[in-house]
């Protein structure tokens, strides 16, 4: 499978580049997903590759990297093994069927790539960016900014960042191009790489893996449980209103008083309540006081949002920046400054409240945000 005739493919990356950046499309010259049979993974001459793949994922979970720190600085000895261990690692991670591991692995690979890229010349970055279909050009040597990137390529990645400096409004935008330095491009590529790997992981849907792969996947799951925890989606079993973020409190108060809510406000309130564990029925009840209330329609919409209807996807609450855009973010408090999502606010606040409760008698903090 590794002896495919390569003469027809024009090489723009070296094999050593591909060993560092195995997620590039051109790596397929050395392996093809079609050629890769699951049984191959467990053949005796593959165990070295399997070991290296296992190492990638293990390091991702434990150290947030995919290459041992004792690797001689950025020199990889067995290029073929290195390249091929990547799709095998993808298979292993997919076999865990654990979204936390998937996210962690994709991010670790992306971070590794970014640390490699920081040592690369600009034209190699340009080639990597082309691999992702970016509209990017290198600026002339005397210009203040090193790259110009078309704003759509910028947005597809930067819109996932929270810092003010990544907002388009705070960028040098002219004629559709965003002016960037090399470090910015590396950071944006990291996001792009992470997304590509996550997508690949989520596209693999096998019902069954060979026992050897499943065994390793089990090991990884154990390792993840020890190192990554359970994720942060566990909310208290009861609804704790004093932990609501101010935006939700404002909406909740308006809804309770029979005041009109704009569409985005209603959506934010419903998704928030459904996600922290309120039943679709109770949410429908809350909206009953609206003059434009239509029980059948409201129930339908709320159940749809709760994932009990239609495609079955439970909608999540919009993040803070979306609520800001639509003027639903109200009465921001100090706590808001440290979070990017209303559910995260609730989670952190309930954690703090339950800690306080176990230490000291509960204080009455009603109307704190009103």
């Amino acid at each position: 499978m590794m002896d495919r005739n390569l003469s027809t493919v024009s090489a723009s990356f070296t094999k050593s580049d591909l060993a560092k950046y195995p997620f590039l499309k051109e790596s397929a010259r050395y392996f093809s997903p079609i050629d890769l049979q699951i049984e191959d993974l467990i053949s005796p001459d593959m165990h070295q590759i399997l070991d290296r793949a296992m190492e990638r994922v293990t390091l991702a979970i434990t150290n947030f990297t995919v290459r041992p720190s004792n690797t001689e600085k950025h020199v990889i000895k067995d290029l073929q093994k290195e390249i091929f261990s990547f799709p095998v690692a993808i298979m292993l991670v997919a076999a865990t069927n654990n979204s936390l591991i998937k996210k962690r692995y994709a991010l670790a690979e992306a971070k590794q790539a970014t640390s490699e890229m920081s040592l690369e010349p600009k034209d190699l970055l340009l080639k990597i960016a082309f691999d992702f279909g970016w509209k990017i050009t290198l600026s002339p040597p005397d210009s203040k900014y090193e790259f110009t990137l078309y704003f759509t390529s910028f947005l597809q990645n930067a819109s996932h960042f929270h810092a003010a400096k990544w907002k388009l409004i705070n960028r040098k935008l002219s004629e559709g191009n965003v002016y960037l330095n090399k470090h910015d491009v590396e950071r944006l590529l990291q996001e792009e790489i992470k997304q590509r790997i996550e997508k690949r992981l989520n596209n693999i849907t096998l019902d069954q893996y060979p026992p050897e792969i499943s065994e390793k996947a089990e090991e990884l799951k154990k390792l993840a449980a020890e190192n990554l925890g359970q994720g942060e989606t566990d909310f208290p079993k009861i609804i704790i209103q004093e932990a609501f973020p101010p935006c939700i409190n404002t909406l909740y108060a308006a809804a309770s008083k029979n005041h009109h809510l704009p569409h985005m406000g209603r959506f934010a309130l419903t998704t928030f309540l459904v996600n922290i564990g309120m039943s679709a029925e109770s949410v429908t009840e809350l909206f009953k006081s609206f003059s434009d209330y239509n029980e059948r329609l409201t129930r339908y919409q709320v159940e749809h949002i709760a994932g009990e209807r239609g495609s079955g996807t439970k909608y999540t609450c919009p993040q803070c920046s979306i609520l800001q855009t639509h003027n639903v973010c109200k009465n921001r408090d100090d706590f808001c400054k440290r979070i990017y999502h209303p559910l995260k606010y609730y989670k952190n606040k309930t954690d703090i409240l339950s800690q306080n409760q176990s230490e000291t008698p509960k204080e009455n903090s009603d109307n704190k945000n009103s």
Partner: protein, 411 residues
Amino acid sequence: MSSRDFVYSKFSEFYNNPSTVIPAPSSLEQREFAYLMFKERFMVRHKRFENIQAFQNVLTRNVPSDVYHSCTYYEKPDLEMDKKGWIGSDLVFDIDADHIPTSCGKIHDEWICQKCKFSGKGITPEECPVCSSDKFSVKTWPCDLCIESTRVETAKLIDMLTKDFGFATNELHVFFSGHRGYHVHVENEAVRSLDALSRKEIVDYITGLGLSVLDRDTKEKFAKSKKRGVTAKNFKLGDYGWDRRLKIGMAKLLSSATSDELKSLGLKNNNLFKNKDVILKRAIEENRWDTVSGVSMATWLKLVEQVKILESANIDTVVTTDVHRLIRMNGTLHGKTGLLKTEFAAHQLDAFDPFTQAVAFKKGTAKVLVSDAPKFRMGGATWGPYKNVKVVLPTAAAIMLILKDRAEVST
């Protein structure tokens, strides 16, 4: 004949007239079509057509009050939402007088509390001054000043879309909405696939949300300082994007505003007025903001904040971020006015007059009993004001008054 029947018959004549041309949107067969039934008042949705003629036949048969198509391209536009297969969506902007403060103060709009029937004119209050309910029925009016206010916002939007975002003018489709505002559709291959989050960033750019002219360190240092009297050492504005807009806006404001006008904007430091020549030269032109005496960091930041408000464009944020949006179809009638949604070239924005160029009903007259109408223009002439009078008006004027609940057909 009832007023409603009269308007229906005119809408029907319009859609049945062989000389009525409704321009086909691009990639028509990938778009969802929808229309609101005139009499039954329900929305027919999820329709797909092979060509414009097929759709026009439906309009002739059904005579809807309002007609829409999706900004979105679907694999199967006629299936239900989950199964349509999203391909992409145009980038659309809606600027509507309903959502923005206008220079007329909306004095022509009338609101009536649904609960206690208390009524008033102007901007609808948050809650009823008598019974505190927040449900009102509102009679709006498309006045020249309302439309002028939206035109100013649209001009700012178009300037950003062409200069900052680099869209060619032939990629921008600019329309009078048919009521009291404008639509801008961007049809460009690269923006089609943008997700809602990316579109949100474009919205924030246009509306000025999240603008931060200081880098993080300077910002944090400034926040921790006493603020008063901190010099503008690290205050710099570049030559691109919002930095450029701020400089142009500052120059415009400082060269034209009086000292009192600046104060009314909250810019109380009189040095902004007294030293404006120095500011224009040394600060705005040469980027040496800390050399202007008597103007500290805090004042520059206040000026930035005010200029940002003046230079940003007031768009409907929900329309642009929605990647499944239906939008009124070009060349069709608006059910609240009887005017047409009409496209014109971007550079015609100043010259375009909705009350002559978006008029659909150019022939005939009708006798109506007008309850209450301000002075208005229609078809090149001025009419009104009217209060409880019977008048014979051109069809277009009569239809608008009826649709605005200001008149009834009279015998």
